[in-house]
Amino acid sequence: MFSVATFLSSFEPLFWAARYTLLISVLGIALGLVIAALICAASLSRIAPLRWFAALWVSFLRGVPLLVQLLLFYYLLPVIGIDVPALVAAVGTVGICASAYISEIWRGAIQALPTGQVAAATAIGMAPRDIWSRIVLPQAFTLSLPALVNELILLVKASSLVSVVGILELTRASQAQAATTFRPLEVYLAAACIYLLINLCLAALGRYLEHRMAV
């Protein structure tokens, strides 16, 4: 039968493991946002080779499963003499992979702005730098928020894949816990609750930001 006691006692060890899930997600997102900004700028650049690079970056990272990217990152780098700790490999891969999706979200949002927005700023003599920082980016960011929150939630869940490089995050820890207690149902239900909690928080943050930046 379902044991409430086992279910409740599963939370404590899993919370510890969830720290890794959070750490990898948060650092991965941060890295992803920074790289995405650069890739997005490259994809909108007037310089053709930059656009080609951005297109290549996006199509490779979207075309190869995150799991395969992780294994490549983890096993390939030592071959060329770079030894990376598992955590660095995990954060790096998650961040790089997320950057491909986020840059496309931003590019779409920027291109969705009516052309008249920039025309009006150009007509009064605003410089390109001001047009970007004051007119285009604030609107594009607001426009991109729902898709961005969606992407972040996917990323938190995808972080379970980093267990393949030996990191004991939430999913891997619940597997271990289930194996030792012979109580998979209670343990996985606890794990599901923790994932849900994290993602509900993210969704709430997204709604708050959307509300605050609403026009």
């Binding site: 009516p114 008249g116 927005q117 025309a119 009006a120 700023a121 150009t122 007509a123 009064i124 003599g125 605003m126 410089a127 390109p128 001001d130 004051r134 007119i135 604030p138 609107q139 607001t142 930046m213 026009v215």
Partner: protein, 258 residues
Amino acid sequence: MPGASSVEIRKVNKHHGQFHALKDVDLDILPGKVTCLIGPSGSGKSTLLRCINFLDEYESGEIRIDGQLIGYESPGGRKMPARKLREMRRSIGMVFQQFNLWPHMTALGNVAEGLMRVRGLPKAEAERRAKNALEKVGLADKMANHPSRLSGGQQQRVAIARALAMEPRLMLFDEPTSALDPELVGEVLNVMKTLATEGMTMIVVTHEMGFAAHVADQVAFMEQGELVSVDVPDKILHQPKDPRIKAFLRTYHERNSF
């Protein structure tokens, strides 16, 4: 109005891909005068207007504001440096058919933005002048509203205030009332009439023949990229000689009679 601009347009040509949008257009606009550009859609009126502040780039010919060529360093020469072009645009106000207000800023923010970023005024001074400009178009009480909370007519008046706050010497209007519900057209035209009586040089692309008849000093008729005829309103609107103008006015009257 002291310092109202003159505009000279000489043999201007422009293509959109294969399409010859402007064909050897010539037009003179004297300081403080109101010129209305009329004609069927696709005739090149808006394109010509957008060439005057080089938002659309003409390929040959000359457009001079107060004698100074816009867009190029010399006729047929290199493009003018971006900074120089921005400087010229500062004194040319433009009002668009779709208003193009910035939705993430209040009415006051929309008007103050250019004063801060382009004219480099401190925030307090920019907002003081922005408020004056909004007062002039009768919207001082709406300055804290975002565009989405304003009617079309109010949005267009904010857009006019945004242009006026920059203290332009020339105002370009691109079908300023075409996107408005009929009952909101009057408030925008009234602001424009006031501006005209103050001696602003204005170039107005419009389908409002009443405005053209009563406010314009000259009316220019365009068709298929050509400037067919330019004259005082009465000559174009009431005694047209060219068959193309006659045909255009006939469809206009048919559409507006019931």
